[in-house]
């Protein structure tokens, strides 16, 4: 049909709507067209490609009204409804993110120098900057809730009956301390007893004194064997495990020795971020192996050792300061609050930056409203925290930093981010191509053709108009 149309009649034409007319055309092509056609049809120039700018010879003619209307209507529907629907259904929901704001955030680590010391009204607070990177590894990562679990490990319950009243001691020694750390995180304290652990430690003996000794390397086996029995935590809190290990009678008394062979006075060691282990030594004469002995743990000494370890974990004391007794709470606590606040803010900023980078690189990740809100709130909280910090309102800054950290973690680990991660770009076209290609080709070509004809017609008309006055 298009081929017929292309070559037709510029001067006058006849519209054929009915099927009958269609038959006429078919016939007319077969037979002698001139006879069938009404005489009203004028002769037409052979050369269809003649430029329309040549005036009077062949004036271009617009398709009739309904044809034009239909063509344009198709084109309009295609452009105004089809394309947007396709676009909307194949793009991932993407709430706008404060990329520029996130990029503008700078961590405290980047701004150091400013932060070494702060003058309060009555004293100077110095922030302990860890000289080496491994030292920061000692401290707990940013967190808002900690589960502190004390575990008594009795590997040989058939030989030793061990009891402890840890609850009382913890209430007395640990709870008042924890209440001071409340701005940093919420703490829950619990205890349990685990029995029948086969740590398979090789206990050595000191060449001089003949005492039983245990190296760190051997003692670390306690953690390996105990861990599977500690029980799965039913929460996603950070768990700090403090373990009292009572060696069986034949290994008593055992002293923990360091790499140089020197005895460790507390008989305990610390595992960064995980907790600590203490070897409990039974004093007195060697125990006869045949009977079952009753052992009451001296819980206060245990609690004190673990309190020191806890201070190390939280970052209140460094490894150089050995004992909790040296802690000057008034001074050190302020420094700690600032340190934790900076940790929170730095971690939150790096989380947001990685998320922002990731989203920049992978456009297919859907960002729903909740994630977007969390990101905005985290950015706001970071700013608020920095503002409070600048105003020397350290508790306020810490509170904001906790919120920032929480929100940024929530945004980063939101399960909805995974949903469309593996939806490849090409599929969004591939799925619709079978529909769009056959449908849109005629629509687009007819639309383009119509507009070209229209342009020709207008140009011709303009040429006529400019010509007429001259004549």
């Amino acid at each position: 049909m298009t081929s017929i149309r292309k070559r037709e009649i510029k001067g006058g034409r006849r519209r054929r709507d009915s099927a009958e007319d269609g038959q006429d055309v078919a016939r007319s092509n077969d037979e002698h067209e001139a006879e069938v056609l009404p005489s009203a049809v004028p002769s037409v120039e052979q050369r269809t490609t003649s430029p329309p700018s040549i005036p009077d010879s062949k004036p271009p003619v617009l398709p009739d009204f309904w044809d034009s209307f239909n063509t344009l209507y198709y084109f309009g529907v295609f452009l105004l409804i089809g394309v947007p629907i396709w676009w909307v259904t194949t793009t991932t929901t993407y709430s706008s993110l404060p990329h520029s704001q996130i990029a503008a955030l700078s961590t405290f680590a980047q701004e150091k120098g400013l932060l070494r010391s702060h003058q309060l009204q009555d004293r100077t607070v110095t922030v302990v900057e860890p000289a080496q990177k491994w030292k920061t590894f000692w401290n707990l990562p940013p967190l808002t809730a900690v589960d502190i679990v004390f575990t008594l490990v009795n590997p040989s319950p058939e030989k030793l009956k061990v009891t402890w009243n840890i609850e009382e001691s913890l209430t007395k020694h640990l709870d008042p301390v924890l209440s001071r750390f409340l701005p940093i995180a919420n703490f829950t304290v619990s205890s349990q007893v685990v029995r029948y652990i086969d740590a398979q430690m090789a206990v050595g003996s000191d060449s001089e004194t003949g005492k039983k000794t245990l190296t760190f390397r051997e003692a670390a086996k306690i953690i390996n064997s105990v861990e599977s029995r500690l029980g799965a935590s039913s929460s996603d809190k950070h768990v700090l495990n403090f373990i009292v290990y009572v060696p069986p009678p034949e290994q008593q008394p055992t002293t923990l020795v360091d790499a140089d062979g020197a005895a460790v006075p507390t008989n305990a060691f610390i595992t960064p971020r995980w907790g600590g282990v203490m070897l409990y030594t039974l004093h007195g004469a060697a125990l006869p192996p045949s009977e079952r002995h009753l052992v009451e743990i001296d819980v206060d000494s245990v609690t004190k050792v673990f309190l020191t370890q806890f201070f190390m974990h939280i970052g209140l004391i460094d490894t150089e300061q050995k004992y909790a007794a040296n802690v000057d709470f008034e001074k050190d606590l302020d420094a700690l609050l600032i340190k934790r606040m900076q940790l929170n803010v730095d971690d939150s900023i790096s989380t947001l930056k990685s998320l922002s980078n990731l989203l920049g690189q992978m456009g297919n990740i859907a960002i729903n409203g909740a994630v977007g809100r969390n990101i905005y709130e985290a950015v706001d909280a970071i700013k608020a925290s920095k503002k409070s910090f600048a105003a020397k309102d350290f508790p306020g800054a810490l509170a904001h930093s906790r919120r920032a950290w929480e929100k940024s973690e929530k945004a980063f680990y939101d399960p909805s981010l995974l949903e469309q991660l593996y939806f490849p770009e090409d599929q969004k076209f591939a799925i619709y191509v079978p529909l769009f290609l056959p449908a849109c080709l005629p629509v687009v070509t007819s639309g383009v053709k119509w507009s070209m004809t229209f342009l020709k017609w207008r140009k011709f008309n303009q040429a006529q108009n400019t010509k007429q006055p001259l004549e």
């Binding site: 037709e8 054929r16 049809v41 044809d67 029995r195 039913s234 929460s235 056959p438 005629p442 007819s446």
Partner: protein, 614 residues
């Protein structure tokens, strides 16, 4: 004790009696032991038991039971023997009771008779009673403010992590709140027995394996290092005919008074039960009547768990007159006891007592008398449920219940949970006996399953059969599992029988909270084949649909936006001719350019003009 000749008595519920009485006996022992010293209440206690029951079919029914109790508190921060993970779960989701069973295989009541607390459905079953949101009680935790649905979701996820089972598949679409079944088994308080506080769900597809057994064993105080838990050899247990792992946590009272219990006397009791039906001896070994613990588990017992208050092994010797009374046991039991209700005899081995040991290791072996005929003791009630119908449009589930009691009718509670993708027609459910009470809650797509509960009597020595019909539906194609052609699991129905006479009652467990006693059976889990599409089709369908649409659209578009107009004949040149002309024109152009380059003359322009038209 020497085997003595008792009067042979044919009582159907021989096995059931033993097991249930066992539970009661130990409870009595616990209360008598602890009541003397109230200040010791704050200590946790632990008891381990093993009950060995030779079955008529030459199988052995073995049930391990580990019971740990701790004083009931609002916050279980500091625990000793009680597993901390379980206490955490109870506290975090504010639970009153928790019952979880993971089962491999089907318990064949008809052949094996009943066994104590072993009535578990194939797969996983979990139900829990939640605390009401009521801060006035001393044991309420902060979590009780969350909605029950929220806590149920949290609970199933916690349990999934704790026992490495896919319990996180338990959704609201698979859970119901039973109306009459699954009442609390422990202490209750005012306002805590309310249907809105209970959730029940089953996963018939759950496969029980070592990965479930290992974390289960880790929760025991002695682990698998010592005591009866040493016998729990995963390879042996999981290759048995039936294996079931259970954890039941409920509040109990230190005294026997269930109606009122002082706050300081309330205990939280966790019962870990492992049940197995094992065929002793190998395939070649024809002497299956002879069994020994060493042969069955390939492990020898060194001693009982030193942490346990009691460490006992019972061997069921049946009712007076049963041939099992003549079972030869090696070594000689510590003592034998007869249950007061029906003289049911048990041989008891006390592992805490060193005189029980006949050497450094404890080996127990027995030889059942060969006079036992299988199927001699038919159980009181048997169930059978199956899928009826064919094709991919309609189906039905039929259930047959048989009452073998020659004298009295049985009052039966029937609970059926059907998945939402079966369109159940309730009007097709017809019973030949009158339904005394019924509850029906229709399913909502992807939200809730069908929930049918019925109460009816089965006349004595008769069977009834009923069916419910349904339509099969197509699911959304993403809802089909990877092995859709395997079929879709329909959870087993639950049949609970309320026994009336004390004679019957003595055979069955006394359920706390009930005045009468009852036994609960599970029918088979079923597979229903839903119509499944060909999963390779979707892309083809997209292509096909698009092609059809395109074919339809093209002509319509052309017809509506273009007119047929007659052109002139000359213009209707054939494409070949047109092509020829074009090529000619090009050649002419090229020639003209050459001549122009050679002779820069004005004559070339004329040639250029005329050549395209020629």
């Amino acid at each position: 004790m020497e085997p003595s000749n008792f009067r042979r008595k044919n009582v159907g519920l021989r096995l059931l009696a033993i097991l249930m009485c066992c539970g009661r006996w130990t409870e009595c022992a616990a209360s008598s032991g602890d009541s003397s010293s109230v200040q010791h209440l704050l200590a946790d206690s632990f008891r381990e038991e093993l009950l060995i029951t030779p079955l008529d079919t030459e199988h052995l029914h073995l049930q391990f039971k580990f019971t740990i109790t701790t004083p009931r508190r609002a916050h279980y921060g500091h625990v000793d023997l009680f597993p901390k993970s379980v206490a955490d779960v109870m506290e975090k989701h504010a639970l009153e009771e928790l019952h979880l069973v993971l089962t491999q295989g089907l318990y064949r009541h008809r052949q094996w008779g009943y066994a104590a607390e072993a009535w578990a459905p194939t797969g996983a079953q979990v139900y829990a009673w939640f605390s009401p949101d009521d801060t006035s009680t001393p044991f309420s935790s902060a979590a009780s403010q969350h909605s029950v649905d929220q806590r149920w979701k949290g609970l199933t996820n916690s349990l999934a992590g704790l026992f490495c089972a896919t319990l996180n598949d338990v959704t609201n679409a698979k859970s119901i709140s039973p109306v009459w079944q699954f009442r609390p088994q422990g202490l209750t308080r005012a306002g805590s027995v309310n249907n809105s506080l209970v959730r029940y769900s089953t996963l018939p597809r759950e496969n029980v394996c070592t990965e479930n057994l290992t974390p289960w064993k880790k929760l025991l105080p002695c682990g698998e290092q010592s005591g009866l838990a040493r016998l729990l050899n995963a390879i042996k247990l999981l290759s048995s005919h039936y294996f079931s792992l259970a954890l039941n946590v409920r509040p109990v009272c230190n005294n026997d008074n269930r109606k009122s219990c002082a706050v300081e006397e309330q205990l939280l009791q966790a019962t870990f039960t492992a049940t197995a039906v094992i065929q002793p001896g190998s395939v070649q070994d024809f002497n299956k009547l002879h069994w020994s613990l060493k042969d069955i588990f390939e492990v020898e017992l060194e001693r009982g768990c030193p942490l346990a208050d009691q460490s006992l092994i019972y061997v069921d010797q049946g009712l007076p007159g049963s041939p099992m009374q003549e079972m030869a046991l090696q070594p000689f039991p510590s003592f034998t006891m007869a249950l007061p209700e029906n003289n049911h005899r048990l041989a008891v081995y006390d592992l805490a007592n060193s005189t029980t040991f006949n050497g450094p290791k404890f080996t127990l072996s027995g030889k059942s008398p060969s006079t036992v005929q299988p199927g001699l003791h038919e159980p009181l009630l048997t169930t059978h449920r199956f899928v009826a119908g064919y094709g991919q449009h309609k189906g039905a589930i039929k259930c047959r219940l048989e009452n073998h009691d020659p004298t009295s009718a049985l009052r039966v509670q029937y609970l059926e949970v059907l998945p939402w993708f079966l369109r159940v027609y309730l009007h097709t459910l017809r019973l030949s006996v009158p339904i005394l009470r019924s509850h029906f809650r229709p399913a909502r797509d992807r939200i809730a399953p069908h929930h049918i509960e019925l109460l009816f009597d089965i006349p004595s020595a008769s069977s009834i059969e009923f069916a419910v019909e349904f339509d099969l539906t197509l699911l959304k194609w993403t809802e089909y599992p990877p092995d859709a052609h395997r079929g879709f699991d329909v959870p087993p129905a639950v049949v609970a029988v309320m026994l009336k006479s004390p004679e019957q009652c003595s055979h069955v467990t006394m359920m706390p909270g009930f005045d009468s006693c009852f036994l609960r059976l599970y029918t088979e889990a079923l597979l229903v084949n839903l119509p499944t599409p060909d999963f390779s089709m979707p892309y083809n369908v997209i292509c096909m649909t698009c092609t059809v649409l395109a074919l339809a659209f093209g002509p319509i578009h052309a017809y509506t936006s273009k007119s047929l107009v007659v052109g002139e004949k000359e213009s209707a040149q054939r494409p070949l001719v047109k092509l020829k002309n074009k090529v000619k024109a090009l050649i002419a152009k090229w020639k003209a350019r050459r001549t122009r380059v050679a002779v820069p003359d004005s004559t070339s322009s004329a040639e250029q003009d005329s050549s395209p038209t020629s």
